[in-house]
């Protein structure tokens, strides 16, 4: 009997490899690098690992272009892959592209950072690629289990990266804190997935959607509990208040380039998962989850902007500001399907702004990655005018200054809130934006208006050095931020085309 069962061929799904190219390139690229490097005794020469990571990420980025055309082509359109475990749609490709860009920029910044801090080995780049591949799996998941696996690949690599700077106690602390709380959040998420499976009989998002559209649950307590638990899990990952406590500590402790990655890529992937689950799959339950998202958004906006004002550490300031940005994106999530493209555009603009900002923070942190107090920014406008100008542009963009990507990002989510007649959220969002403007101005004040007193900041320690790769990354970030504000039309159209679409096996 048993023998006969084994004899029967295991049904394997058909795999369209070409459609999985971004995931595969990133994952294989990461594993290959790890393998090759461990075969040799000597470390690869300077810059090679970073260049390799950039090339792999760029290849993955390019591989999304034909897929994008394929999805937009009305004859083909979005499809489900690997028996609908993975979905190929504009939404996943948009975030995939964003993740690849994040990897490229972070790798450029990390290169000089590792040299400066004397951290040997290409592990950081391996982890970057693996983490991004997890993110891609997560955003293209059409099944809750696959999404969870993607999230775990993404997060576990990020935990290790946070603790990468082993000689700094704060980095280790950040790693542990991130790990413990992140694991906690994963548990919540998994528990929620289990409950939703119990309520709907499937973990496939498309099937869940079909099930909910065809059946009316008389007792939906289980489903709503599952949704609540998943919201907690996602809330942790995106750093929304009241699940934000880890954010300032981890952002402060983690190596600055890694913080850039966490604030951009990890957040983008988590938001993408959240939008796919809440706005798309459980769109019919919008009345149930919307009040909770409203509360998360309001609290994040208020706490993020108000608490940021009292900080004196720039990394912590940016951490709180990232909480308030999460609140803004949640305003887009709150508008459900009407806010998806606004949230995507926000994520795109935010990716550039935040990586650029943390890149500057990396430079100013100097050897030891410890100079992050406001005082360390004194006189930067004089000693490093270009760096200060770039930082000022990025900060003003985060404040939502006109003709920067930050403005249209905020404008988009406000418009999304307005289109669903949600005035209170729009008003809260704009008022808190004005409060957080104070925070960005404070950094600018220190850079430009405060005199150092002594001739240069270099007297008391190592001077600010800007490696060429990092300045290139900052340049890209600044140019992209301005481009998103001056010619936003193509990017807004891109975000509008990136429609999330679930595929279901049951018709």
């Amino acid at each position: 009997m048993m023998f006969a069962q084994i004899q029967r061929a295991l049904p394997t799904p058909e795999v369209t490899w070409s459609a999985l190219a971004p995931q595969l390139i990133l994952m294989v690229g990461g594993v290959l690098m790890l393998t090759v490097v461990s075969l040799f005794k000597k470390q690869p020469p300077k810059g090679v690992s970073a260049a390799y990571a950039v090339i792999v990420a760029a290849a993955a980025l390019i591989s999304t272009i034909p897929l994008w055309h394929r999805v937009l082509n009305p004859k083909e359109g979005p499809t489900g892959l690997v028996s609908n475990a993975i979905g190929l749609d504009g939404f996943s490709l948009f975030i995939t592209g964003l993740l690849c860009i994040a990897v490229i920029l972070v790798a450029l910044v990390a290169d000089g950072y590792l040299v400066r801090e004397g951290i040997e080995g290409p592990e950081l780049f391996v982890l970057l690629l693996l983490s991004a591949s997890g993110g891609v799996v997560m955003v293209s998941a059409n099944d809750l289990i696959v999404m969870f696996i993607g999230l775990e690949i993404l997060s576990i690599s990020a935990y290790v990266m946070a603790a990468m700077h082993a000689r700094r106690l704060s980095s280790q602390e950040a790693g542990i804190k991130y790990f413990v709380l992140g694991a906690f959040a994963s548990a919540f998420l998994l528990y929620g997935i289990a409950m939703i499976y119990g309520a709907t009989g499937s973990t496939n998002l498309g099937d869940i959607q079909t099930f909910l559209s065809q059946n009316v649950l008389l007792h939906d307590g289980l489903l709503v509990t599952g949704l609540a638990l998943m919201l907690v899990g996602f809330g942790f990952k995106i750093g929304a208040v009241p699940f934000h406590q880890w954010t300032p500590d981890v952002y402060q402790g983690a190596p600055s380039p890694v913080t850039a990655f966490m604030a951009s890529a990890v957040k983008a992937a988590a938001f993408a998962g959240m939008i796919r689950v809440f706005s798309v799959t459980f769109g019919t339950y919008v009345l149930d989850w919307r009040p909770a998202v409203f509360a998360l958004a309001t609290l994040s906006l208020l706490a993020g902007s108000i608490l940021a004002v009292v900080q004196t550490n720039v990394k912590r300031m940016l951490a709180y500001s990232s909480i308030s940005h999460a609140g803004f994106i949640l305003v887009g999530v709150h508008a459900a399907s009407k806010g998806t493209s606004a949230a995507l555009f926000y994520l795109a603009a935010y990716t550039f702004m935040v990586i650029g900002s943390f890149a500057v923070v990396t430079m100013v942190g100097r050897t030891g990655d410890g100079r992050h107090s406001l005082d360390d920014y004194k006189g930067l406008g004089r000693s490093r005018p270009a760096l200060a100008l770039a930082f000022a542009v990025l900060l003003l963009a985060q404040a939502g200054a006109p003709f920067t990507g930050g403005f249209f990002a905020k404008f988009g989510v406000i418009a999304a809130a307005a289109s669903s007649h949600n005035w209170s959220l729009a008003i809260i969002a704009m008022l808190t934006a004005a409060i957080s403007a104070f925070l960005y101005l404070r950094i600018i004040v220190f850079m430009y208006f405060e005199d150092t007193g002594d001739a240069s900041a270099g007297v008391h320690g190592p001077s600010v050095r800007i490696p060429r790769a990092a300045s290139f990354a900052i340049g890209i970030a600044v140019v992209a931020t301005l481009a998103l504000g001056i010619i936003p039309q193509p990017f807004i159209q891109l975000a509008k085309d990136a429609v999330p679409q679930l595929s279901s096996s049951t018709p």
Partner: protein
């Protein structure tokens, strides 16, 4: 052409940023060049403007962000024409007249960026484009005050920025609400086009009133209206001379111009409803500003408070909702933009020489600097509103307009004219009359170069005072059209309410 008027200074700012750092002469040359070209375009437009046509001219309407309904829609009418010309004149003058002591490169870059932004505000006919320019001017001004200002500059700059930012935060919500309510009320695509929305007037009365308030808050901060004016004395006092010139001459007008274009034109009914409130605040501003100015010990602060009073006249003129009142308001905007910058330039010259602006430390300057005293007298009399000089026609028309529609406000406001005479003459007496103290003995009279900068302003003061007709001819058609527009929509509001209940109109899109 309007696009170029914005682009030329913006390009100039970038060019200067790329010049080598140690060539201050080159920076100034480039700044003068680019600002003059921008100004020349504005003056050329002034000459090509068709008199006696109320509509927008030099219109440019191309798409910018079609997926959000935002268009690059620019145009000029009689209300904005002279404000543009004024900006085109003041920026080159301020750049020529005042040379910063250090960091010339970023200074001129910010000045040109400020010019581009100001020009943009006055020509924007799309709500979002307007908002973008309205906000962008904050940044250069913030840096100008913060980097080249005096004493308490960081406090002043930050206060200025945060005040204005809070004011305009709600305006953005108002703009978005306007567009979406317009779309759901009149159908069609989402659009932020001012002219479309204003001529359709399809937004429900209740919603329009709320949105008007969000706009009014932003403009009131910018004007500034009592009690939102507290940033102004600080900003003016700490700003460098050129900053004060531009702040008083151009930036305060963004608020009063906003009231005309985005208050009255966009929300006629709400403007009429809230007119008593704004008239009251304007009147309080006139009296309060004058009283405060009387008590100032700092000459620059005195001029700053006098601005609060003068802008009160513009506001009451505007919200008298009469042709004379609006004409007077526009005229007063331009004239205040000539005489107050002139005063700031003079105060700046005094400060350059004596390094103090305290009135009690200055005395007897007339003896050592007779020419400057003469110039100061002329400018001061213009600012007081002496008939025959430029301050008079605007103030007078604004008051007539107010008398016609809101008599008692007019009566109180007219007292402001007397108070203006009081504080300015008294200040003049303390600064210029009497015996010069030891420190003031070596006070140098106005130089030729300084005189050259002042000359165009002085000519305009006399010309606009004696012969304001060319200006009025161009302003009047637009002012009339605006008053008709307001009357049309504000009066038959009762009839409209019956057809379309405001709440239903606001929520029909749900």
């Amino acid at each position: 052409m309007l696009t170029w008027m914005i682009l030329v200074p913006a390009i100039g700012a970038v060019v200067i940023a790329l010049l080598p750092r140690h060539r201050p002469d080159l920076h100034k040359l480039a700044a003068v060049l680019f600002s003059s070209v921008g100004g020349a375009i504005a003056l050329y437009m002034l000459s090509q403007f068709h008199t006696r046509t109320p509509g927008f001219q030099f219109v440019q309407n191309s798409s910018w962000i079609p997926s959000l309904g935002i268009g690059w829609h620019l145009g000029v009418d009689g209300l904005s024409l002279f404000l543009l010309a004024l900006s085109g004149l003041l920026f080159p003058l301020a750049i020529i007249g005042v040379t910063p002591h250090e960091d010339t490169k970023p200074y001129y870059s910010w000045m040109l960026l400020l010019m581009a932004g100001s020009m943009g505000v006055f020509v924007a006919l799309d709500l979002v484009v307007f908002f973008l320019f309205f906000e962008i001017v904050l940044i250069p001004m913030y840096f100008l005050i913060g980097l080249w200002g005096h004493g308490n500059r960081i406090y002043a700059a930050t206060k200025f920025f945060i005040y204005t930012m809070f004011g305009s935060a709600l305006m953005l919500v108002g703009i978005v609400a306007t567009a979406y309510l317009h779309q759901s009320a009149s159908g069609g695509r989402l659009t932020f086009d001012l002219v479309r929305i204003a001529t359709d007037q399809s937004i429900g009365t209740a919603a329009a009133r709320w949105i008007f308030l969000s706009f009014a808050l932003a403009f009131s901060v910018k004007v500034p209206l009592f009690p939102l004016h507290t940033w102004l004395p600080d900003a003016h006092t700490e700003a460098p001379t050129a900053g004060s010139v531009i702040l008083a001459g151009v930036m305060l007008k963004l608020g009063t111009y906003g009231f005309l274009r985005f208050g009255l034109y966009l929300f006629p009914e709400a403007s009429k409803t809230f007119a008593p409130v704004l008239l009251t605040l304007g009147t309080i501003g006139i009296v309060y500003g004058a009283v405060c100015a009387t008590m100032q010990r700092d000459l620059k602060r005195l001029v700053a408070y006098s601005s609060v009073a003068h802008l009160g006249f513009i506001v009451i003129g505007t919200f008298s909702l009469t042709v004379q009142g609006i004409e007077g308001g526009v005229l007063q905007m331009v004239n205040h933009g000539i005489s107050t910058p002139a005063l700031f330039l003079l105060v700046g010259m005094i400060y350059e020489r004596r390094h103090t602006r305290r009135i009690d430390e200055l005395s007897g300057l007339q003896k050592v600097a007779p020419v400057m005293a003469g110039v100061f007298t002329l400018v001061m009399l213009a600012s007081i509103g002496l008939p025959g000089l430029n301050g008079f026609p605007g103030e007078f028309l604004a008051l007539i307009g107010t008398f016609r529609s809101a008599r008692w406000w007019g009566v109180v406001a007219a007292s402001g004219v007397i108070l203006a005479a009081l504080y300015l003459l008294w200040a003049y007496q303390r600064v210029f009359h009497g015996e010069p103290t030891e420190a003031n003995r070596s006070f140098r009279d106005i130089t030729f170069a300084e005189g050259l900068v002042m000359a165009p302003l002085l000519v305009l003061i006399v010309f606009c005072g004696l012969y304001p007709k060319p200006m009025l001819d161009r302003i009047e058609p637009s002012a009339k059209a605006l008053v008709v527009h307001v009357a049309k929509y504000a009066n038959d509001v009762d009839a409209r309410d019956v057809e379309l209940p405001p709440v239903a109109a606001a929520e029909s899109g749900k």
